[in-house]
């Protein structure tokens, strides 16, 4: 099957800064994919290259098999981008914006779909309101609506929940998840790693324009996460011999590092040997944030 996104040796530099450094990446149709990285890692530049907002210095990028340079019309019809910045046109109402945007994609009678998007994004009551009069959260919803007016098979969301309240964030993810279930490919960048962990099946991590990790979310969590155990003990004093394993104290629990899950038994045995009783134990699930920090510090 044609990949939803195919990037081969894409490079983009601004002066001496290599924003994207010969990146290879493939995202399959129907995937929910995360592109993670610290600020300045090259995530937005990569999205701009895919969406035609900037031109690559070298390499080849395609969306649904359409080259973004040679076959730009079909490529752009295949992708909807929700930009990171809260941009809007202050002259128009929400409905006017969506009608004009539909026209840009060659769609004449799009009222039914526009009404459906407005309903699903809870914007119907604001359809005839000028963009200037909307709150930040509402403007963010309109950005999502604009990216969807032409029903693109691939949707790229560049930090869509930055500065967004919890209610909208949950509503947005519910909507995006339903789009993914309906077959749309979703590419997401976010600094909220718990969102990526719960939503995305595969993750790429970028640092200084390079992909430093690319795997399924499950494998990343299995392979990289430092396992931890939280123990409440009596007496509340960690034996001297085990203090090197101690990562700190959290709400009355001693947090200890486990290189392997199988080390847990020997740890508990060592505690018993020192006459320390375990009164409570928590094994926290793997955390993408820890994986992220570890990979970024290694790369």
């Amino acid at each position: 099957m044609t990949p939803a996104i195919e990037i081969r040796q894409a490079c983009k530099a601004y002066g001496d800064l290599k924003a994207v450094n010969c990146v290879d990446l493939e995202v399959g149709q129907g995937e929910f994919f995360a592109l993670l990285g610290p600020n300045g890692a090259g995530k937005t530049t990569l999205i701009n290259l895919l969406s035609g907002l900037c031109k690559p210095d070298s390499g080849r990028l395609s969306i649904m098999g359409f080259d973004v340079s040679r076959n730009y019309k079909d490529a752009r019809r295949s992708v909807g981008v929700v930009p990171q910045e809260l941009v809007f046109d202050p002259f128009f109402t929400v409905r006017e914006v969506l009608e004009v945007q539909s026209g840009y994609f060659g769609i004449s009678d799009n009222d039914d779909w526009i009404d459906e998007i407005l309903t699903r994004l809870d914007l119907s009551a604001k359809a005839d309101t000028n963009m200037r009069a909307l709150s930040g959260g509402m403007k963010r919803r309109v950005l999502v609506a604009q990216a969807l007016v032409h029903k693109p098979p691939v949707i790229i969301l560049d930090e869509p929940t930055a500065g967004v309240d919890v209610e909208l964030r949950q509503a947005l993810w519910e909507f995006v998840r339903s789009l993914n279930e309906a077959g749309h490919t979703i590419v997401l960048t976010t600094h909220y790693l718990e969102e990526a962990q719960s939503l995305c099946s595969r993750i790429a991590m970028l640092k200084a324009g390079n992909i430093v990790a690319l795997d399924t979310t499950e494998n990343l969590l299995k392979g990289f996460s430092v396992r931890r155990v939280k123990l409440q003990i009596s007496p509340d004093e960690m034996p001297e011999a085990l203090k090197s394993r101690c990562l700190g104290l959290e709400s009355g629990y001693h947090v200890l590092k486990l290189d392997e899950f199988s080390e847990l038994e020997s740890l508990l045995e060592a505690l018993r040997k020192f006459g320390t009783e375990v009164t409570d134990m928590i094994l926290p699930p793997p955390d993408l944030e820890e994986v992220f920090v570890e990979i970024m510090s290694e790369a």
Partner: protein
């Protein structure tokens, strides 16, 4: 074509929504020019034989307003979109660069022509201006709007700040229009300045447009048409090249 028509519609709707600023305001300032210059210079200047100065002035002022507003429409729309960032909605779409060019130029033409017609409509009840060759006036009005609409695209793409755009307008567009014979016939100038005026393309726009009204002009009308057509082709090709390259838009 749908991409073109949507962008054209959006650009017309944009200036229509702020009609006080984009249509009525230039109408008022042009009428003030007319009032002041006709009273201050009316008894001193004989621009064309047998033509009262105020009648001579109206087509020139109408063309000047038309040119300035055609320029203002495309340039201000582009720079506002660039600075606020909403230009990306157009850049993310499959609208081609010729469609972008024609949509901006034609919307500028609509605004320019509306301002021009407004000036004639408001002055018509008090001042009689003949219309000897309407087609000539129309052709020069449309070509002038095209050229300045396209020049506005160049300025809007090039400028990164509002003051850069204001510099373009104040140091290039304004002097070229004021020194093009709007307020006088270049025959009244010394020979050297007559020669200099012939290097100004805006002179041919105003002179050709005025020929449509009075059937008389400083330069032969077909020569003016040739110069204006060459300018239109050159400015259009340059603008299309800029849009195709993505200069300052897709970087």
């Amino acid at each position: 074509m749908k991409g073109f028509s949507s962008l054209f519609y959006k650009e017309v709707l944009r200036f229509w929504k702020v009609g006080f600023q984009t249509l009525l305001s230039p109408l008022l300032s042009t009428l003030l020019y007319l009032l002041i210059f006709s009273h201050a210079l009316g008894s001193h200047v004989q621009a064309l034989p047998g033509v009262p100065y105020i009648s001579f002035l109206i087509p020139g002022l109408a063309m000047m307003a038309l040119l300035q507003n055609a320029f203002a429409n495309s340039s201000s729309s582009l720079i506002q979109s660039k600075i606020t960032g909403n230009i990306i909605f157009l850049l993310l779409s499959p609208v081609s660069y010729p469609e972008i060019f024609f949509a901006y130029v034609l919307a500028s033409t609509v605004r320019g022509i509306l301002v021009g017609i407004g000036i004639f409509a408001v002055t018509h009840w008090a001042i009689r201006v003949p219309l000897e060759y309407p087609l000539w006036a129309l052709v020069f009005g449309i070509l002038g709007s095209f050229i300045l609409g396209a020049t506005g695209i160049i300025a809007g793409i090039w400028a990164e700040k509002f003051d850069q755009l204001a510099s373009f307008q104040n140091f290039i567009i304004l002097p070229l229009t004021f020194l093009s014979g709007v307020f006088y016939s270049i025959r009244s100038l010394p020979p050297f300045w007559q020669q200099v005026s012939h290097l100004n393309p805006f002179f041919y726009l105003i002179d050709g447009f005025r020929y449509g009204f009075f059937g008389a002009s400083d330069a032969p009308p077909y020569f003016s048409l040739l110069v204006v057509s060459i300018c239109f082709a050159a400015v259009s090709l340059f603008t299309l090249g800029l849009l195709k390259s993505g200069y300052k838009l897709r970087n």
